[in-house]
């Protein structure tokens, strides 16, 4: 029973970060109809940058986090401008471009940062006794709270502000939005950067717990894709719920079935969803 509670806690903590990362995919797919294969690479970039800024420039934890998020945003904008923009309307072309981008970036990380795991300093130390049953690292709890907070901020911005309304308008109907005076190209530009920032935020939150190596990016992207398909590609709420479900399923699966198959559970979910309800849990339409 204690074990089960621990695995559930782990699942929810992980799942929140999955959700944060998957919101970025949901945003980019929703607005631009582009699957960004290099999504996880922005997670890795944020992790490496925050570690490097903290260790090499001797910045504090929070200035280095702020700087790395800013860098991720600008790298995202550059990628959108020079690589994604020529592919508008041709989803196969964008798949190929972002897949090649993922290989380039992964090998660049290997070249620049080397194959050894790196990690930014912990924000807090020590641990808490949860429910009077087990001890749980403070860093994990703080990461969980931060991720949950960021998700809430994102959802509020998306549903309550002018910016969110414009983004949703473009996602729902491009032509209509542009007739009403929205510049869809600029929204694409900004949404892609924001999507990368969401992946980067997940990296910032998770790398103090799980150090980054150059090759984790693809796993992060795949997890985010599974979450988005599970939740429904056109639903942001779906990405949040899907992230939590995947986090819990993975952790229970690791505990009770086999730890070698940790990443398999996600793909089994993916194929089951496609078979049973292709629009996902909260989705309404399929993307062509």
């Amino acid at each position: 029973m204690v074990d089960l509670l621990l695995y559930l806690t782990n699942g929810i903590v992980m799942g929140t970060s999955y959700a944060l990362c998957a919101l970025g995919v949901a945003l980019v797919v929703g607005v631009m109809r582009v699957i960004n294969f290099a999504h996880g690479e922005f997670y890795v970039l944020a992790g490496y940058l925050s570690a490097t800024f903290a260790s090499a420039l001797h910045l504090g934890i929070f200035p280095s986090i702020a700087m790395s998020i800013l860098c991720v945003f600008f790298v995202g904008l550059v990628v959108e401008r020079f690589l994604i923009r020529p592919t508008y309307g041709n989803e196969m072309y964008s798949l190929i471009i972002t897949f090649i981008l993922y290989i380039i970036v992964e090998n660049l990380y290997l070249f620049i940062f080397g194959p050894y795991p790196q990690k930014p300093p912990n924000w807090v130390s020590g641990s808490q006794n949860l429910f009077g049953l087990f001890y749980y690292g403070n860093q994990r709890l703080v990461s969980f709270v931060t991720a949950a907070l960021l998700i809430s901020i994102f959802l509020v911005v998306l549903h309550k502000t002018w910016l969110g309304r414009v983004i949703r308008a473009v996602a729902i109907d491009r032509e209509m939005a542009s007739l009403l005076g929205v510049n869809p190209t600029r929204i694409n530009f900004f949404s892609f950067g924001l999507g990368c920032v969401l992946a980067g935020a997940a990296g910032i939150v998770l790398t103090p717990i799980f150090p980054v190596v150059p090759t984790v990016g693809v796993g992060i992207s795949l997890t985010a894709f599974v979450v988005v398909v599970l939740g429904g590609m056109d639903s942001f709420l779906g990405a949040v719920v899907g992230g939590l479900i995947l986090g819990i399923v993975e952790n229970l699966g690791v505990a009770y079935i086999s730890s070698g198959y940790k990443h398999l559970f996600g793909f089994v979910i993916l194929i089951l969803v496609l078979f049973l309800k292709p629009t996902g849990l909260f989705g309404h339409r399929q993307f062509q």
Binding site: V29, R33, I35, L83, P86, E91, M92, Y93, L95, I96, I97, F99, I100, L101, I103, I104, N107, L108, L110, F111, V218, L222, F225, V226, V229, M233, S258, G260, Y261, H263, L264, G266, F267, V268, L270, I271, L274, F275, P278, Q286, F287, Q288
Partner: protein, 305 residues
């Protein structure tokens, strides 16, 4: 086929026939790998270049081909020839199931599902080390008889020629016309009675079985099959070769595969960073010359005449 094209294909074939006697043992190995990639890229081109669907499971199907026949040979002593045949049938059945599951739902879903499938295959092979020997690799017997690179080369070459001729006739048939109709405009194709899902599924199953054939032959040539064959790295190479050579052309994947294979010999001194060089070259082509080497050269020739 135009006469000039036919002549250049014939010249390429004759050169390939005498090549093993002209090059060193080391280069012969590169050539055999090159032929493997020609098979992989040509069959991937069948789905990506002609029906416009990006499948990421191609390397996984090659892995299914080589592991099926390898395990059959090691555990049950079945000759590689029948093993490869079983591998092809298994890959065809799996691609039929996978395709039936997701092809009706449009491009993004196919890409994501095949990606998931490819990771499932890799994870299972790595974890079931009692059967597959995991990352250690599985030792398998040679194709038949005694080990000889020249035999392997000619078997590979025969497979390449058969597959290329087969693909050529498929593309020339009504089915090939339907492939391109589906690629250019799905709705228009459906409105004139092209069974879109069936056409896509056919291309997907064909490509999957050909990948299994390539993987099986290559595995029994290497004598050691590792999870590197069904990995995303191999998938990337196949994709890069097709893109660099030229998607949607017969000669593109052949040119691209041989180009990258030869390039890799010259930049081997940079160690593991040769993948980075490949990726940058592929990106430059994908971004600035989307028709690849073959399409680019074709345009040049057209402009001159």
């Amino acid at each position: 086929m135009k006469r000039a094209n036919l002549v250049s294909w014939c010249i390429a074939f004759v050169v390939a026939l005498i090549l093993p006697f002209l090059v060193s043992d080391y280069w012969l190995h590169s050539l055999i790998s090159g032929l493997f990639y020609v098979l992989m890229a040509s069959s991937w081109n069948l789905i990506a270049g002609y029906t416009g669907q990006v499948s990421f499971a191609h390397a996984a199907f090659a892995g299914i081909g080589c592991y099926t026949s390898g395990i059959l040979a090691v555990k049950f002593g079945i000759p590689p020839f029948f093993g490869i045949l079983t591998g092809i049938i298994l890959a065809a059945l799996l691609s039929l199931t996978l395709g039936a599951l997701c092809i009706r739902m449009g491009g993004i879903y196919l890409s994501l599902t095949t990606l998931g499938f490819s990771e499932i295959v890799r994870i299972i092979i790595q974890n079931e080390y009692k059967i597959t020997r995991g990352t250690m690799g599985l030792k398998v017997p040679f194709l038949f008889g005694n080990y000889s690179k020249i035999t392997a080369f000619y078997i590979m070459l025969a497979a390449v020629v058969l597959v290329l001729v087969g693909i050529y006739f498929v593309l020339k048939s009504d089915l090939g016309l339907q492939f391109r109709a589906v690629q250019n405009d799905e709705i228009a194709a459906a409105s004139v009675g092209v069974p879109v899902v069936f056409v896509r599924l056919t291309a997907f199953v064909m490509a999957g079985s050909l990948a299994a054939l390539a993987g099986g032959l290559y595995g029994h040539y290497l004598l050691l099959i590792t999870p590197h064959i069904p990995s995303l790295d191999t998938m990337f190479l196949v994709l890069a070769m097709t893109v660099i050579g030229g998607m949607g052309t017969m000669a593109g994947p052949v040119v691209g595969a041989l180009f990258l294979e030869i390039l890799s010999e010259y930049i081997r001194v940079y160690g593991e960073f040769h993948v980075l060089v490949f990726a940058i070259v592929a990106m430059i082509f994908a971004r600035f010359f989307p028709q690849g080497i073959v399409g680019f050269m074709g345009n040049l020739i057209k402009q001159k005449t």
